[in-house]
Amino acid sequence: MKTFPIGGVHPSDNKKWSNTKAIEVLELPDVVNIPLGQHIGAPATAKVAKGDKVLTGQLIAEATGFMSANIHSPISGTVTAVDMQVNGQGLRQMMITIKREGDEWMPEIDRSAEIKRECDLDSAAIIAKIKDAGIVGMGGATFPTHVKLSIPNGCKAEYLIINGVECEPYLTSDHRTMLERGKELLVGVEILKKALGVEKAVIGVENNKPDAIANLNKIIKEEKFVVSVAPLKVQYPQGGEKQLIAAITGREVPPPPALPIHVGAVVCNASTAVAVYEAVQKNKPLIERVVTITGKELKEPRNLLTRMGTPISKLIEMAGGLPEGDVKVVNGGPMMGRPMVNIDSPVTKGCSGVTIYSGKEAQRVNVESCIKCAKCVSACPMGLEPYLIIRLTQKHMWEELEAEYITNCIECGCCQYSCPAGLSLLDYVRLGKQTVMGIIRARAAADAAKK
């Protein structure tokens, strides 16, 4: 069984709460809030103003430059505000608020259930369509897909890797998508292959989803797709971009600023491939996605096809409401998700799930002193030494941190997960990484200014 070369942990996957629940369509929300910045890069520029009528799928905010993404209205209705609203972390962010009136779609969107396989567009046209549809990486990183597909000069794509690993515990949205929308996914892969001009396409799936692997293999065989499915060992973070590339191709992406394309690989999430299919074949922009709402204490964990901008509280309501007492609501999975304080904040493009922890699990374990057990070092999939990094961070030794390759950290959380002393390893590693990245950017800017 293939896997990545170093480190990793084995958290209990807790997928059983929702992996048998078929995708259901969540009823349309009455009001949606659409943040302008829900992708990596510059926030989009609003193209509508208060009082404007919009249709479902209509462009409401345009990408600001290349490294940005379009945003479309997920419902039809009236724009009631373009203003600062509180996001999930309690911070204020520019959002477009739309009040729903019916559900009238843009006429050019093909809403039929028929699956269209033939695509006679060329690479540039496909990428243009993906850009128009505002597609970003839906695994959580929200990297604009059209940027990923535009291969920089001097690089050549050899592999298209589809990330169906879903190594985050609890989450099952990609799993259900691979099961229920396998054919759309595979057509999406074909389109992506064409856009990149590559021969080899591999779908990496963690081995705890045998039904998804079987389903994909069956469709590939029946419909003669030229794609292979690689079952991968169940080990976190198997779905990390760099880990996945290493597991499938044996090549390791060098530390930043190198990108996966420097080893000839392009990685797209499985749900992103479905979105690409819809954008290219059906003219449908990215306005809805599958969100897993799950947790041990939830009455009814579900996989819900949700329009962007729907308040997360509505999903929680559908799952039977928050459990009593202490809770922690997390946007994303337990290893990398962001904690939330405002559950009325909207579902965004990168929100693959909402996980809820209650009782003792809502809190961190007690902190003791480091016993130098080296578990963080052996757990780190990037070969870093978290115990050392946090000491350097606490002492503000930024140059030494840079020499320790802190920018290579993928913030997967393996170190803190494995620490028997319960130290806040990732908290400080992340702080150190952000500070060092800031220093590097400042230095680059200074160098550029000199020239």
Binding site: P5, A246, M336, V365, M382
Partner: protein, 326 residues
């Protein structure tokens, strides 16, 4: 809403391992050796262990309470473990006050003066043992005879290493199977290689330790003994000598339980192997050519002092920096 919201950055789940659970696993792993020792030396073994544990825990508690301040750290079981390991390094008929002095040195001097668990540069139990070995050499090196046979038939006397060094016995006469099961004089915890190995396997299975240090220590000792045997005689010695050295003295206890002490061993797999080989080689040098019959404790303490240096220079394999296959 009646909910109380908690917020902390990811990760939001934690492995079930805690400091306490790790220490508990090590203690469980030591139980077979304790059982064998009790069979061999009788109820005295439990007396010595109990005194060592109680005095270690008490000293840690008192120092934390009255000198350092802050929350008590005894519930993490590390003091209990130090007590058991110290007891395992003592003869079973040692007077109680020597045990208490050993505990004071182990916990008071070697551990708490540096700030408690996680900060001590040297293995506390070994510092205690070496202190006692130098301060009370007579009591520390006279061992009662095992109740069930001996490693050389009808021989009553010193430990295998001491006897061999004094040329009281010949290597050819030694019954290695007896040594393996614990029929030889020695410190309480070091005699039963079989039980110690069982404990080691339990710790590997529970992911308390990794294989690197024990394998490096025992492997380097065996290789060293093999080379020496090849130069001095060859023949049967080639196999008898490595086996004898792995089973005699504190080799097993040291390699599996003492050298793997988290606080004082290196952080990276490569570093662990360097550290383990260092211990193995120094032990063999002391055993073969040094003044003491046994060198495990000294070797581990010497390598403890090198650990920070190893940590500084031996780095883990960095992802993406090794040569890429194309």
């Amino acid at each position: 809403m009646a909910n109380k919201f908690f917020v902390a950055a990811s990760p939001h789940v934690h492995s079930p391992q805690s400091t306490q659970s790790l220490m508990r696993d090590v203690l469980l792993a030591l139980l077979p050796a304790l059982a064998v020792s009790t069979v061999v030396y009788g109820i005295d073994v439990l007396r010595v262990t109990a005194i060592a544990v109680v005095s270690c825990v008490l000293i840690e508690y008192l120092i934390q309470r009255f000198l350092i301040g802050g929350a008590s750290t005894i519930q993490n079981l590390s003091a209990v473990l130090t007590g058991v390991l110290l007891a395992f390094n003592l003869p079973s008929d040692i007077p109680w006050w020597i045990i208490v002095i050993g505990s004071v040195v182990a916990i008071g001097v070697a551990k708490m003066t540096f700030g408690g668990l996680g900060h001590n540069p040297f293995n506390p139990a070994l510092v205690g043992r070496v202190f006692l070995l130098i301060a009370y050499p007579v009591q520390m090196t006279s061992f009662p005879q095992p109740s069930m046979g001996n490693y050389v038939d009808a021989f009553a006397g010193a430990t295998p290493l001491a006897a061999l060094k004094a040329r009281a016995v010949e290597l050819g006469d030694v019954n290695l199977l007896h040594m393996f099961t614990g029929a030889m004089p020695g410190s309480m915890g070091e005699i039963a290689a079989l039980a110690l190995l069982a404990g080691g396997i339990y710790m590997l299975w529970r992911r308390v330790i990794t294989w690197h240090i024990p394998v490096a220590v025992l492997g380097s000792m065996a290789v060293f003994a093999f080379i020496v045997a090849a130069f001095t005689g060859g023949g049967e010695l080639l196999y008898a000598m490595p086996a004898f050295h792995l089973l005699a003295g504190g080799a097993m206890l040291g390699a599996i339980f003492m050298a793997t002490d988290y606080v004082t061993s290196p952080m990276t797999p490569k570093g662990m192997i360097i550290y383990g080989v260092g211990i193995g080689v120094i032990t063999m040098i002391i055993r073969l050519w040094g003044a003491y019959p046994e060198g495990m404790s000294f070797a581990i303490l010497l390598m403890n002092s090198v650990t920070p240096l190893i940590n500084k220079y031996v780095k883990p394999r960095r992802f993406g920096l090794t040569s890429n296959k194309k």
